[in-house]
Symmetry: C3
Subunit: 201 residues, 3 copies
């Protein structure tokens, strides 16, 4: 139940990022709608395929399909000026990352995956939608650009997994894990945190 | 049975588009063959993975593998001059889109998916092969370029779904749905139909 | 057992190629780690999804996750000067291709797929990791560049399949098939073998 709500909110915010990137690329209303859907649903599709939960949740529950459409249409009509688009993409993307890494890890645990795998599935579902969005629209995937991205997702997923090992699975654990991921990701953007680069001999 | 035939024809025409893009990119015979196979089989793979029909049809029936190879070889030897390539890609791509959106929706219904999901699965299998072809060969995916593309696929898939709700599933329904998708797609290309762009404040 | 060892070695060498491409693209330590993981695990994920072996092997056995991390960290700290990177990518990539086409075909046979399909699954798992690596890092996928790539993978997978038909499945068959693929791929690079290009009328 709580899982579903977080999942739907994650789809909504990721859908917004897809639509915003579409606006930025000057796509038409249908291209924007497609980007909103693949970005919103992509991570969950990958997650459900990997854990064998087929057909994916988004294909057996119509709310999963309506949410990214609404996100895309709202963005199409209400998007801000071009100069603020990229900043908004980053903020909503951080929110989607935080929500999906948590719901992904939780669902993987529910399907009986071992702890480390559940943390990885959480990370993959967090970064999946953004990777698909960026590859389709010809951007370098954000996860590969020089910023802290996969790491906070792994951290958020890890908190869910460790809490589960300790038999803590109250809703506030999921929320706390999402907040940790979200805050670290935003701080990394704002402060320009960088991870070490390879030395060049 | 009728479904299989439509599926194989769809694989054939999508295989041709993959090979034509490969010719245009001046790939060698093997690169062209690979593009023909991923374009022909990609949409069906995604469809079968999403509805949980594993292994995918193309992996349990050898005809599914022979068809794109033949499409690729025919195209390699018989392709036209470079200046007519893009137009042919568009026509065959429209045919593949039309066939796959119909067979995808039909198969999803047969696997018990609800109507809206079946329409989405049909749309995804229609656009999937072209997306993979374009991403691999470094083109902006046709589905995102400013044209009517995902919409006729959704329409074709939708006709199949609505007809099914009305207990109409004669072969001519599938054919009619494919024709609707194909004609709208071609008209959109010929007449240069465009969907609304986001306003820029 | 032998299959698992070959699989883990394949993940290791593909992980190295992902990390080397990341070093070349001047990604930071986390971006490099992500590329190492998707390159090492991508082909096996695709294979297991296609044959319906869900969740994929890499998600139920923690060694599959540790191996690409180690490959990525080793490469991050010990990589050579920039001028030798591309050559190393090619060699390790050939090794990964050889190992995965063999283990992919073998696993597909074990899951009851028919011979031709098993050879195709082997080829796909051989080329899958490299395709994901190249698409994510904005390179033209090696499989589409003008070189012998998918063909030796199909040959290696084919040897495994034919030997299985002849009831030969000793470990040396798998090794011989991998060596054939590896040697042909390396010769094609060294000697600059090219496949025929389409004639331009």
């Amino acid at each position: 139940m709580a899982l579903e709500v977080l999942d739907l909110v994650g789809i909504f915010v990721f859908g917004i990022t897809g639509a915003l990137v579409g606006v930025r690329k000057k796509l038409d209303v249908f291209g924007i709608q497609v980007l909103a859907m693949v970005t919103g649903l992509g991570g969950g599709f990958i997650r459900d395929v990997l854990i064998g939960a087929l057909p994916p949740a988004a294909l057996v529950d119509w709310r999963y399909l309506v949410v990214p459409v609404v996100a895309g249409l709202l963005t199409f009509f209400l998007h801000p000026g071009i100069e603020r688009l990229e900043r908004l993409v980053n903020i909503f993307d951080a929110a989607g990352l935080a929500l999906f890494c948590v719901t992904g890890a939780r669902k993987a645990l529910d399907f009986g995956l071992p702890p480390l795998s559940a943390a990885l599935v959480g990370t993959i579902s967090g970064i999946g939608g953004g990777v698909i969005r960026d590859v389709l629209s010809g951007r370098v995937p954000v996860v590969l650009r020089s910023e802290i991205y996969a790491t906070p997702a792994f951290l958020g997923a890890g908190i869910v997994v460790v809490a589960d090992e300790a038999h803590l699975d109250a809703p506030w654990v999921a929320l706390a894990a999402a907040v940790v991921c979200f805050v670290i990701r935003l701080l990394a953007i704002r402060r320009g945190w960088n991870a070490p680069l390879p030395r060049m001999p």
